[in-house]
Every structure is written in structure tokens, then in C-alpha cells.
Subunit: 302 residues, 2 copies
């Protein structure tokens, strides 16, 4: 089934202890759509400026991503500049230029209106709600957010959250959003607002998923080379939602498998700058890493 994502397409400049890159392809929708493209048809809604290199569009088209909903506006593309220390879990944002993203009002082209699965990447929660209203046919909706919106637009954000099936955020955001330090209690509070499922991303420590009365814990893949964690969360979400849309199922067993596929895609992503780790993966490589997750977590019953 087809999967729709609304978010950012950006040009990133990133410095890590292992190197640096300038004005490379980035953005939440880009990472999401690329990861998801290994599993299902993806339709993207975002905006870029005059300066956005044609080669990036070619890359996304080459991965089968539908770009009918990608606006090109007059001005500069959204740009983000950040740096990571050896503690790679958290980026320090050095500069954010919203540029054409500042006046972006996502509008779904008619060909997008029948998408069954929807991911609202981290954008203004009011815009997320507008998209939700347009995407009538979506039968399963997930959204992401960030501390900026939790601090500045909490009411609008909670309205959005009430309308989605799944919220995907990191542990600090979950605590901040629920105003509760204990993660189990924070999860219970967030789930009481409406979503059936909450996925908490914990970077190098993996995923905790709360669903009905169950908890699922998945580790991150321990890597010898973590080069650049930018986009890991969106790549996780892309692998996750891509698998869900491919299977067209949202039962607990499928959701758990989707968490592992998301973790697999994120593990490839952090091994290189920009999207280089997930540009061209084989089905075999994805399958082998899924198998590695299985082996890494198995133990016998008591």
C-alpha cells in the first residue's frame, strides 16, 4: 500500500569527530522516504528552493519516490548546520535557516489523496493537523515532533497527537511532553491522549514501544563505525512505516517486525554521512542485518 510523508527536504552541513560535510542532502522527509522506498511506494510532500541540486531529485526518483508533492519555491532551501561530539546521541544545532520552509503550507496533490499510510515528520503541529485533514483515506497515521514544538505549541501538538495512531519520539521528548521523568508513567500519560502505540527512540540504546498493555524493547545495532547519526530517527521511522505499508497490517507481531526493520535501516544510515549509508542497499544486506538483530536478542525460556 502507498505511504505518504510530509516533512522537510534540506541541505545539511554536519561536523562529527570523524569528518565534515557541507550542504549535503538531508531533511526528515528525505531520510524517511529513502528508507521506506525499500519496502513500498512512497509519496513525498515538502518544499525546496531554487538552489536545490537536480541530482538529489534524480536520486529520489531513482528510488521510486513520487515527488509530485515536492514544491519548488523561489528562494533558498531549508538549511541546517550541526555538530556532534564523541557522545553521538545528541546534535548541537549551530544554525537553522528555514528559508522556503518558513512559508510552507503543505498541499496534497489529487494523486496523493488515496494513500493508506501517513507519516507526519517533525514540522509545526498545526501543519501536521492540516495534512491530517487532507489525507482522508489514511487508515494509519504516525507522527514525530521535537522539543521546539513541545515548548512552543503544546496545545496544537496534543491536538495532533489525539488524531494519530502512533507517536514516535525520543526519550527526552517523551519526558518533556508528559511532564514526567519515569518513562513508563510518561508513556501511559501520552497513550491516554489517544494514540494506541508509542515508540520511544533512545539513540544508541534502541527502542521502547508501548502498545496496549505490552512493552517491546529492541536494542540498537552495536556498530564499530558510527559516523553521523543525522537522520537516524527519520530513517528508523521510514523503515518502520515502509514495512507496515508493505504488509498492510498493524497487528502487534507486524508492528514488532517493523520496529526491527526500522532499526536495521537506522543502523545502516549512521555508518556514513548524509544518506550515503542507505542510498543503495541490497535486500540481502537488509535481511542479513535483520537476522543479526534476531541473533543478538535471543535467549531460551526459563
Amino acid at each position: 500500500m502507498s505511504l505518504l510523508v510530509v516533512g522537510s527536504v534540506a541541505l545539511d552541513s554536519v561536523k562529527t569527530p570523524f569528518g565534515q560535510v557541507d550542504s549535503v542532502l538531508g531533511g526528515s522527509a528525505t531520510y524517511f522516504a529513502t528508507a521506506a522506498s525499500y519496502f513500498t511506494d512512497v509519496k513525498l510532500v515538502a518544499v525546496v528552493g531554487d538552489d536545490f541540486p537536480e541530482c538529489h531529485l534524480e536520486f529520489m526518483k531513482g528510488r521510486g519516490i513520487d515527488l509530485s508533492g515536492l514544491e519548488r519555491s523561489h528562494g533558498q532551501t531549508f538549511r541546517w548546520r550541526g555538530e556532534y561530539g564523541y557522545q553521538l546521541n545528541e546534535a548541537q544545532t549551530l544554525e537553522t535557516q528555514l528559508n522556503v520552509f518558513q512559508t510552507f503550507r503543505p498541499k496534497l496533490p489529487p494523486s496523493y489523496l488515496n494513500a493508506s499510510y501517513l507519516f507526519l515528520a517533525n514540522i509545526d503541529p498545526s501543519l501536521q493537523s492540516e495534512v491530517l485533514k487532507q489525507a482522508d483515506a489514511a487508515k494509519w497515521v504516525a507522527c514525530d515532533t521535537m522539543n521546539f514544538w513541545i515548548e512552543g505549541k503544546k496545545e496544537a501538538l496534543i491536538q495532533t497527537i489525539k488524531g494519530v495512531d502512533l507517536l514516535v519520539i525520543n526519550d527526552g521528548e517523551a519526558r518533556q511532553l508528559a511532564e514526567e521523568h519515569n518513562l513508563v508513567k510518561a508513556a501511559q500519560r501520552i497513550l491516554s491522549w489517544g494514540p494506541k502505540t508509542l515508540i520511544i527512540k533512545r539513540g544508541e540504546y534502541g527502542i521502547l514501544m508501548f502498545h496496549a498493555d505490552t512493552v517491546f524493547a529492541a536494542p540498537a545495532y552495536p556498530l564499530e563505525t558510527v559516523f553521523d547519526p543525522t537522520g537516524a530517527g527519520d530513517t528508523f521511522a521510514g523503515g518502520f512505516m515502509g514495512y507496515i505499508a508493505q504488509q498492510d497490517r498493524t497487528d502487534p507481531a507486524t508492528i514488532r517486525k517493523a520496529v526491527i526493520y526500522g532499526s536495521v535501516m537506522a543502523s545502516f544510515n549512521v555508518e556514513a554521512f548524509s544518506l550515503d549509508g542507505i542510498r543503495n542497499l541490497s535486500r540481502d544486506a537488509i535481511g542479513r542485518r535483520y537476522q543479526a538483530f534476531s541473533e543478538m536478542t535471543q535467549f531460551e525460556p526459563q
Copy 2:
């Protein structure tokens, strides 16, 4: 098979956001021996002072712990005072009084010399080596340590590590010991010194175990009530080594199950102050939580 532990028996004063206690039972050997006592016979080597309350000895004897190797010296018992913020992963030490522990030279009573399994809890690495020499019959030895010894007695510590089968430390200590931020590379370096197995404790994020060329990741149990994390690492080690000694096996499948039993015991421990969470558990309660770990981590093959 019988299991020997050398470490501290202490009186702790602990403050957490949820309450505080003064001069309660604590110490690495105490937590370890109590957790292990649910699985096998435990022999303890440590020292206490004149002030050590008889009721604590009664408690340990009641759990079947052999105290023939517990010296009572003239002076005060080892005392530790610490505090935790809402970020419960790390204690702030407010005061350490070594007292009778300062001149402690562990000596194994004759009845201990045939113990098959040995745990060297966090004490001076030179003392750990001395114990290792005395415990001739031990066929599988694990040790713990801390940043204090990594900074102050690194050479002696590496000597100890060379002589053990398993090292159990936390992630910060592993990085500091190997002088390497990446945890996979840090693990490889530590394993190159001799131990076949390395267990890295990550507090609320669970365990990473490196063994030969495999990695095993186990989550911590997500709890609504984390009251006091003091002793969680030693309780983990106690459940782990207790199960190993009970089974008298150290094959990979048994070691993985032992990691889960260790995690189960640690999860009970943090639910209350001092040892109150593990004073009196039923086999059923332990079994149910092991089962909860299974359910929390299972996913289907691809």
C-alpha cells in the same frame, strides 16, 4: 555448585527523589550474595566493624549465605552516603568512610577453598589478585571494578582482568578502561587482554554482552517505580553468577539466560531502598518476571 564472593558489606545512607534512608544494609558483596542466594550456595568474604547490627547477619544467614569468611574487626563498618537526582542512572557520592575496610586483607577460610565459581566485587585490584591466587579450585571467575581503580591502579587492574573469565563493568568504565569511545571497539580491546566474556551494564538501558564474536543485548525491565538504584549492578551480577553456578555451565545459551536472571534480580532491587526489593522473593515472582523479559523482547523472523 558453590559460589564465592569477595567484596564489601556496608552501611549506606541514601537519598533519592522518593525518600531517604540512613545506615541501612548495603555493600557490593551483600547485594551480590543475596541475589545469588536464590540460585545456589553462596560463601561471602568481607569485613564489618563492631557497630554492624546483628539483624543484618541474621538476615544473610536466613538466606543460607555462608558467613564463615566475614571478619568482624575493631572499629566502624564501611559507610557510604550518596544521593540520586531524577536521572537515577548515576549516584553522587557525598561521603565514603572506608573504616575497617581500609586495612582489609581478604583471607579465605579452608571451607571456602573448593568453591567452583568466584566473583571479585569492586575492591582494590591488588586484593582481587590475592583472592584469585587463594581460590585455586575456582573454574570460572568474574570481576567488577570502578573508575576509581581505572584511574589510580590501572596496571594492577589489567593484571587482574587478565586472570578472569568475565569482566562486568558499566559503559562509562568500559570506555575509560579501553581509552576508546566506541563501545564495540572498547569491548574488542578489553577482550584482547584475556577475558572470554565482557558484560557492559547500561543502567536503565540494560546489558550488552560481548562473547567470542557475538553480541547479546538485553533491555532493563521498564518499571513504574524506580526507587533506589543502589546495588543494581551487584544484584545483577549476583543473579547472573548464581544461575551460572546453579547450572554449573558456561556455554553461550546458559550465559544468556544468566544475563536475564541477573536483569530480573536487578529489576526487583531498584523497586525499594537497600535490599528490601530482594529480601524475600518467591520463585514464582522470579519466574514471572523472566517470562516478562521473554515477552518484551520477542519478534518473529523476517
